[in-house]
């Protein structure tokens, strides 16, 4: 049922390739299963999951903790090999990390031994395409001018997260995979970061897969909110967010937003309870 929903919801995303759409960055997850088996401890993190994300679409993946959201993302990033099924990006099977698929995590992964500028220029440097002044202009856009020569340890959490976003943008990926990137930030910084991300996305046409456990954040940012089940992870429900763009954090007060939030919350609540029962049973 859910499988049906997610694939037919948006007819343009059924097995798209750059040839058919002219856009890049479409993700197709087919029958994805990931089983962790460390020392006989059999954990099914994700089971038979199907999901399509259209090129240049913004999709939020929402679900209770431990539902395998991050596993899905790591399979798309190419860090993990699926136990079964496959992940296609623009029709090609994912087998290893690629600069076309950029990743941002909750804990920043800036290289602590490189300055902010060296971090931002890392991707371009890897394929010999450093442009003079580009790092500076991206950092400037992220409000980090003057911090080019600083080391990450000298920056606040919010600034580190902006620097990491800058590093990602400098690499010009088709797809941005974001794993709870703002959940460790305080409310105010989080709002600034959300605005920044929307701005960048609305301008640059990239696909975004955004993992979060924050319902409001998911609705505020995404075109579609995909709610996942408790472990083993599957798609439980897909909610279309028909709030017009450009959005800003003010939309949270509208009636339509409240409606969508209630709908998402009721699904989530059900799953959260099921997850708790699972834990009790274990």
């Amino acid at each position: 049922m859910s499988k049906h929903d997610s694939t037919t919801d948006d007819s343009t995303t059924a097995g798209p390739t750059p040839e058919t759409t002219g856009k890049t960055g479409a993700i197709d997850i087919n029958d994805l299963t990931k089983i962790y088996d460390p020392e006989g401890e059999h954990v099914v993190a994700v089971q038979d999951m199907d999901l399509s994300v259209g090129a240049e679409e913004f999709v939020a993946l929402l679900g209770p903790s431990g539902c395998g959201k991050s596993t899905v993302l790591e399979c798309i990033a190419g860090y993990l090999d699926p136990t079964d099924g496959e992940v296609l990006v623009d029709g090609n099977r994912v087998s290893k990390p690629d600069p076309k698929r950029g990743v941002v995590f909750q804990e920043n992964r800036l290289f602590p031994w490189k300055t902010i500028k060296e971090n931002v220029e890392f991707g371009p440097r890897m394929h010999d395409s450093i442009e003079e002044g580009r790092a500076e202009s991206i950092l400037d856009e992220m409000g980090l001018d003057g911090f080019e020569e600083a080391y990450p340890s000298g920056l606040s959490g919010g600034m580190q997260q902006r620097a990491e976003l800058a590093r990602l943008l400098a690499n010009d990926p088709d797809i941005m995979l974001m794993d709870e990137p703002f959940s460790a930030l305080d409310a105010l910084t989080k709002e600034i970061m959300q605005k920044k991300l929307l701005e960048v996305w609305e301008r640059d046409n990239r696909t975004v897969l955004f993992i979060t456990h924050d319902v409001e954040e998911a609705i505020l940012l995404a075109d579609r909110v995909v709610v996942m089940t408790a472990r083993p992870g599957q798609v439980k429900d897909v909610i279309d967010v028909d709030i017009e763009r450009p959005r800003d954090p003010e939309v949270v007060t509208t009636d339509r937003f409240t409606e969508l939030r209630e709908r998402a919350l009721s699904v989530i609540r059900e799953e959260a309870e099921r997850a708790l029962e699972q834990e009790d049973g274990a």
Binding site: A77, G78, P97, D98, G102, F105, F111, P152, S153
Partner: protein
């Protein structure tokens, strides 16, 4: 004395109910008390201290040695002996770094190399470097290369073990992040593995330098020749106790200076680390 008593005393100190000398003064006091204790032990002949020299005689001997007076009967000055010991330590540590760091990076990154090399190396690790002195004297072509070989063994294992440990604790997340930014395995090695391992390597080098000094002194005492270890022991045989004391001071200063140099260099190389 129980901790609570000390705590009470300290609280009284901190509560300013007892006049308290400043921090600097207390630290100087610590050093002064040490010398007073030394002088008193010698003066009153406690244990066998009357057979050793007091601080005043040592100071005179130290000044003479620093002025270039020859040590013991050999005729070399303190500087020459110090230079010999320091030269051995520097050469041995550099060779140890040149071998242990690449070897550690290889063993740490490749399971195959680890399985092939590490168990064989582990066989040698529990043997204290000093125990190699007789073998080194047997095998090495010259006496001097024998001493350097032993000092090399002293420095080698701490550097190797810390390098391996460092590589193994590089967080996988950095490797993943680099791969997602388009880094090939060569780039990852150069831009992630090596810088992330650097703090451990520096720890290993500073431990290695410490062991190198212990080993060089022991080897020079046992095997003789030149060097500070040699003059300390030679002076003991000739009962020139003030020269023994000067030798101990010299080795302490050299050990301290080399530790400080490693620390400074390490601090500069890892200046990106969070400072507390």
């Amino acid at each position: 004395m129980s901790a609570s008593t000390i705590d009470q005393i300290q609280r009284r100190f901190e509560g300013d109910t007892v006049p308290l000398p400043g921090k600097r003064v207390r630290q100087v006091l610590s050093i002064v008390l040490f010398f007073v204790l030394w002088a008193a032990l010698v003066r009153f002949g406690i244990l066998g201290f009357d057979k050793f020299v007091g601080p005043e005689t040592t100071l005179v001997a130290l000044v003479e040695s620093l002025a270039g007076a020859p040590m013991t009967e050999g005729g070399e000055t303190l500087y020459e002996h110090a230079a010999f010991s320091a030269y051995r330590v520097v050469v041995a540590v550099l060779i140890a770094m040149g071998i242990a760091i690449p070897l550690g990076l290889t063993i740490g990154t490749s399971r195959r190399w680890e399985d092939a090399l590490f168990p064989a190396l582990e066989v040698f690790r529990p043997v204290p470097p000093v125990a190699w002195v007789p073998i080194a004297l047997l095998l090495m072509p010259t006496f001097r290369s024998g001493v350097i070989f032993v000092v090399f063994i002293g420095a080698f294992f701490p550097i190797l073990v810390n390098t391996i440990e460092g590589v193994k604790t590089v967080e996988e997340e950095y490797v993943q992040a680099a791969a997602s930014l388009g880094a090939e395995s060569r780039d990852i090695f150069r831009h992630v593995i090596i810088p992330a391992t650097l703090p451990s390597i520096i720890t290993g080098v500073s431990l290695g330098v410490g062991l190198a000094w212990i080993t060089v002194v022991a080897a020079e005492m046992i095997a003789g020749g030149v060097g500070i270890g040699y003059i300390i022991f030679q002076a003991y045989r000739l009962l020139q106790t003030e020269v023994v004391a000067v030798g101990m001071i010299a080795i302490g200063v050299l050990g301290y200076a080399s530790a400080a140099a490693v620390h400074r260099t390490g601090h500069y190389l890892t200046r990106w680390e969070e400072t507390e």
